[in-house]
Symmetry: C2
Subunit: 83 residues, 2 copies
């Protein structure tokens, strides 16, 4: 299992409720690919969303996001983490 | 206080030890601006670094990163978070 950060653009003006609904569409199907989406953060001014997840591969994260209706090609494998 | 994500590019091939040293340069001076850098993640293949922090403003985060030797203009205010 690896950790991933994926980035979405274009979520300008999206509300907390809308982000929650989008995130819940991921959570509803994530087990199909062995992925877990831990957290999502939004800057509604720039429209950037950052999603932190665990899963077997970049492709598994991309497939869940695509099926949930918010595809992204921008998925980074976070092999190094510091605190 | 707000939460921020900032992104650095160009850290291709950087090691865990090098990221740790860079992060510690932030931690050493972060109090000057009332910022705290919680965590940093690196994808050494693409060279992307994601830094999660708390602080009073985007500018405060940018000033610490600049003084620590790794300036970035890409700082997003994460006013919305879902789990």
């Amino acid at each position: 299992m690896s950790k991933f950060m994926n980035v979405h653009s274009g979520f300008v003006g999206v509300t907390e409720q809308q982000l929650k609904e989008a995130h819940e569409r991921d959570l509803a199907i994530e087990r199909d690919e062995g992925v877990h989406f831990e957290r999502a953060w939004l800057d509604p001014i720039s429209g950037k969303v950052f999603c932190l997840s665990n899963g077997p591969s970049r492709e598994s994260v991309m497939r869940i996001h695509e099926r949930a209706g918010h595809p992204t090609g921008e998925v980074y494998e976070l092999s190094i983490e510091v605190v």
